[in-house]
């Protein structure tokens, strides 16, 4: 049986990484050239890892299912990326970023990993600037910062509301540079459908060429899964349509443990659902909470135009409940507070499942400041409004446009209507300090692993983690494994394990076509999403979770009897791709519910209704649940392994944002 060894280096927290980094075995340049690494995923984690490893001399293959590496879901990240630069002279430090992240994660993350993340955060910004990433700047030419939730300092770097795009294009350009030099071979429009394990070590993957439909076998001395998160198990989420769990799930079924699967992030500020046809939900970045105030009417079922509701008839409930952090409380807290108001009958809009995010106050404030800057003495209301609008446009223009495009309403004139939506998954493949899964030679980076965010991720920390993993962690830690592999020759892909793995993939594909059922894939996906949202979403309880498990099993059975996949295997067939992904979600969903069921406490994004304080806040149980729940796949069931978390540097306490 596998045991969980987190491989955290000994010594004081501040020295763990620096000391360890300088003692990890190295691979000499000549040997690097004969070592092959497969990277699945070209998002921030995958692109940065692949480029860095290729620069070091390894032979790298990169896979992604989109038509170009540049289109990975990271491209959609809006708000920003954190780094402990302390440029604002507001008391930021590596320790403070570390502390905020552990606390924000509701004390369910590993101290050593998070400290390392905070330590390398500053290097990320340097690297990106060197690549030509056009971060926002002040008039003096210096980099600009904004605030994000769960912190009281300004440490978030950004490029308007398109930070992910700019960071990914930076990493992508580094990747394309290596592709041009021939050190990386790119496989776009390819989907990994299994990992190949030989004598207990990961030795390659099976991938499908999405254009020809052909299955391919690829050998690697090591395989890095950088395949992103699984929020789409809920059907509706802010993730891109193709985001999926397949790569991680196939690895899980081959022996990689899955950590904290139930830890899901529901983001408080998204555009509400508008109808049954809805295919995805759109995020309105957390950065908007810098300048937007969240409120609902004090009166139930208030039908007035929001602009006609006077100040004293508005309930700025976050400012009321959490005066110290106000609108900038962490996401889990803000989401639950919105749900509480809507459930109590104070919601707005036609569905009543929305709250207002209002910019008028700050638009006016900015307008006045601008007028002063420009030496205008008696600016009119109109002038102030226009100037304020300009400032807001510069900061969030693309988000405002997107909102208008989707809702048909102008957020410069009326407050946005927002509601929480599934956004990010803190859970993922269990990895040790080296980012290796429980299968030797198989690594997980970025959102695909479980590592740094505990039970709730702070805003602007996913981009930081993806790039930390890829640029600054894996290039070092992979040496610990590969230095022992320099004598391993490339394993021929006609060996038994490759043949067996490909056969299995091909059988599954054929099964889809044989069913010839009556319902399209989306039908099942939608149903699964509804079960997950209702019973394993923002609030969970024992009864609901038990029901959900039964319902998911029944739905899975129905899927395998009644799904209809059109076309054939040997062609470009997006429906077939979807079928494979939904089949995996139908298994993952069950595990998520089991995980939520065993965790008899509330922490971060995991809110069990049975465990709450009198004020409705999450109630942790540190004596019993200060562990990472790590699940081993055993055919028809799962076995739970616990990695106990040690808090040696932070005093564990009830999280308070009051």
């Amino acid at each position: 049986m596998n045991t969980l060894d987190s491989k955290i280096p000994p010594g004081p927290l501040e020295q763990k990484w620096t000391k360890y980094r300088s003692t990890i075995p190295l691979v000499n340049p000549a040997n690097k050239r004969s070592l092959e690494i497969i990277v699945v995923g070209s998002g921030l984690a995958g692109a940065s890892a692949a480029a860095s490893l290729a620069e070091m001399g390894y032979k790298v293959k990169v896979f992604c299912f989109q038509d170009s590496a540049r289109r990975a879901h990271s491209i959609a990240a809006q708000g920003g990326i954190n780094a402990a630069k302390n440029y604002q002279n507001d008391g930021d430090s590596v320790y403070r970023l570390f502390y905020d992240t552990i606390k924000g994660g509701d004390y369910r993350a590993r101290e050593a990993n998070v400290y390392r993340l905070a330590e390398v955060s500053a290097n990320i910004i340097d690297q990106c600037v060197a690549q030509g990433v056009p971060f926002a700047r002040e008039y003096g030419g210096y980099l600009s910062n904004r605030s994000f939730g769960g912190t009281q300092v300004q440490r978030t770097f950004y490029a308007a509301g398109q930070t992910g795009q700019q960071l990914l294009l930076g990493a992508y350009s580094a990747l394309m540079r290596q592709t041009g030099m021939g050190t990386v071979k790119m496989y776009a429009r390819h989907e990994m459908l299994d990992v190949v394990v030989i004598d207990g070590k990961c030795r390659g993957i099976i991938a499908r060429d999405l254009i020809s439909g052909k299955l391919e076998r690829h050998f690697g001395h090591a395989v890095l899964l950088c395949s992103g998160g699984y929020g789409n198990v809920f059907y509706l989420s802010t993730n891109a349509m193709g985001s999926n769990v397949t790569a991680a799930w196939k690895a899980h079924k081959r022996g990689a443990f899955f950590g904290n699967p139930c830890f899901t992030q529901i983001h408080p500020t998204c555009i509400p659902v508008s109808g049954d046809h809805q295919s995805k939900l759109t995020l309105m970045s957390e950065s908007l909470r810098n300048d937007g105030r969240i409120w609902v009417p004090k009166q139930k079922d208030d039908k007035r135009n929001p602009n006609d509701i006077p100040e004293d008839e508005r309930d700025y409930y976050l400012e009321r409940r959490y005066p110290a952090f106000g609108n900038l409380v962490p996401r889990d807290v803000a989401s639950r507070a919105a749900k509480e108001r809507c459930d109590a009958g104070y919601g707005v809009g036609t569905s009543k499942m929305a709250v207002y995010l209002d910019f008028s106050f700050n638009m006016k404030r900015y307008g006045t400041l601008e007028a002063n800057k420009r030496g205008m003495h008696h600016p009119s209301e109109e002038e102030i409004k226009r100037l304020g609008r300009e400032v807001i446009t510069e900061k969030y223009g693309n988000l405002f446009d997107m909102y208008k495009q989707i809702t048909g309403e102008d957020p410069y004139e009326v407050p946005m209507r927002i509601y929480p939506a599934v956004h990010y998954t803190m859970g993922g493949l269990w990895v040790d300090y080296n980012l290796m899964t429980t299968i030797p030679g198989l690594y997980a980076l970025g959102e695909a692993n479980f590592s740094d965010h505990g039970a709730n991720r702070l805003g602007a920390s996913a981009l930081m983690q993806g790039l930390a993993d890829g640029y600054f962690v894996i290039p070092y830690t992979i040496g610990a494994y590969l230095s022992n592999e320099i004598r391993t020759k490339a394993i021929p892909t006609d060996s038994e394990a490759f043949v067996e793995a490909e056969k299995k993939v091909s059988e599954t594909i054929n099964r889809f076509f044989e069913i010839k059922g009556t319902q399209p894939v989306d039908h099942f996906h939608r149903k699964l999403g509804k079960i997950m949202w209702d019973k394993c979403g923002m609030a969970r309880n024992e009864k609901g979770l038990k029901e959900a498990i039964q319902e998911i099993r029944a739905l899975r059975e129905e899927f395998w009897k009644d799904v209809r996949v059109p076309g054939s295997a040997n062609e470009f067939n997006p429906e077939l791709e979807k079928a494979g992904r939904v089949a995996d979600f139908l298994e993952l969903g069950e595990l998520m519910c089991m995980d939520a069921l065993q965790r008899n406490e509330s922490c971060g994004g995991h809110f069990r209704e049975e465990f709450q304080t009198e004020e409705g806040e999450a109630m942790r149980d540190d004596d019993k649940y200060a562990y990472v729940a790590s699940w081993e796949y055993k055919g028809n069931e799962w076995q739970l392994h616990k990695e106990e978390l040690q808090f040696e540097n932070i005093k564990i306490a009830q999280r308070s944002y009051k």
């Binding site: 620069e55 989109q66 038509d67 170009s68 540049r70 289109r71 879901h73 491209i75 959609a76 290097n123 910004i125 340097d126 690297q127 990106c128 600037v129 060197a130 690549q131 030509g132 056009p134 971060f135 926002a136 700047r137 008039y139 003096g140 030419g141 980099l143 308007a160 795009q165 294009l169 992508y172 580094a174 394309m176 540079r177 041009g180 790119m186 254009i211 891109a240 349509m241 508008s274 109808g275 046809h277 809805q278 295919s279 995805k280 759109t282 995020l283 997107m402 495009q405 989707i406 048909g408 640029y471 290039p475 009556t518 399209p520 989306d522 039908h523 209809r564 059109p566 076309g567 997006p574």
Partner: protein, 246 residues
């Protein structure tokens, strides 16, 4: 709303392809264009017909994957809006909508509305980067960049690489795409060092991929969903001239 769709169907790169007509009832004006296509596809699947293949992923106007030529315009009727951000409220009850793939020699059709844009990646591989290895970077604030330059670089960098500029151009030229990257990096001190080499290599690769010449009709700018300016083309031309002279 009731909508008639005339959609380009083409089994694969070797197939000749033709238009097929479909009727769709009960279309909600709040649906996005791609959600309307989802509804059509569900209907086709239930009727044992082949669904329409199209590219899409983020559905937020940022990944650049969606690529439909709608009523004779890349990404449809609205300025500065991608196909995925287009909503049915932009159409009228009873409308007939024609949907085609991007058409350009350098973007061969894969199936129906999906095309192969890997030529863009190869242009980027030729020079669309700053040659800096991980770990080489200096302290970020040691490089001061006037806000105006940073903003201009950002505007150029906002390109999503969707290829609408190529699809809009009667010559299928990729000048707007290439010039956006050349400009972004030429405007920043980090990119200046390799500016000459970059522009020469990227332009050479662009020509090799079979994109057409630019004859300054500016259809690219008019149809660009991210409103990338043709000033970038002028800047690239200057960079190119400079590089040739030295």
């Amino acid at each position: 709303m009731n909508i008639t769709l005339k959609i380009w169907r083409q089994k694969n790169g070797n197939d000749k392809g033709s238009f097929q007509t479909y009727q769709l009832a009960d279309v909600s004006p709040d649906m996005s264009f791609l959600e309307m296509m989802d509804v059509l596809n569900e209907k086709l699947i239930r009727n044992s017909e082949d669904p329409v293949a199209f590219d899409h992923d983020c559905r937020e106007g940022i990944c650049g994957m969606c690529s439909m030529y709608i009523n004779g315009r890349p990404h449809g009727p609205l300025r500065g809006v991608t196909t995925c951000q287009l909503h049915m409220r932009s159409f009228k009850d009873g409308d007939t909508i024609t949907v085609e793939p991007w058409r350009a020699d350098a973007f061969p059709v894969i199936k129906d509305l999906a095309v192969d844009r890997s030529s863009f990646d190869r242009i980027m591989s030729a020079g669309g980067f700053v040659s800096v290895n991980t770990g080489n970077a200096q302290e970020a604030n040691n490089i001061l960049i006037p806000k105006e330059d940073a903003d201009m670089a950002f505007s150029a960098a906002a390109c999503i690489g969707c290829g609408a500029c190529v699809a809009a151009c009667k010559n299928a030229s990729a000048m707007l795409f290439v010039s956006a990257k050349v400009s972004q990096l030429a405007l920043l001190p980090q990119g200046r060092v390799e500016a000459k080499e970059r522009v020469m290599k990227m332009v050479a690769q662009m020509d090799e991929e079979g994109f057409g010449n630019c004859t300054n009709t500016y259809a690219c700018e008019a149809e660009c969903p991210k409103l990338i300016s043709v000033e970038n083309i002028a800047r690239m031309n200057r960079e190119y001239l400079k590089a040739q002279l030295t």
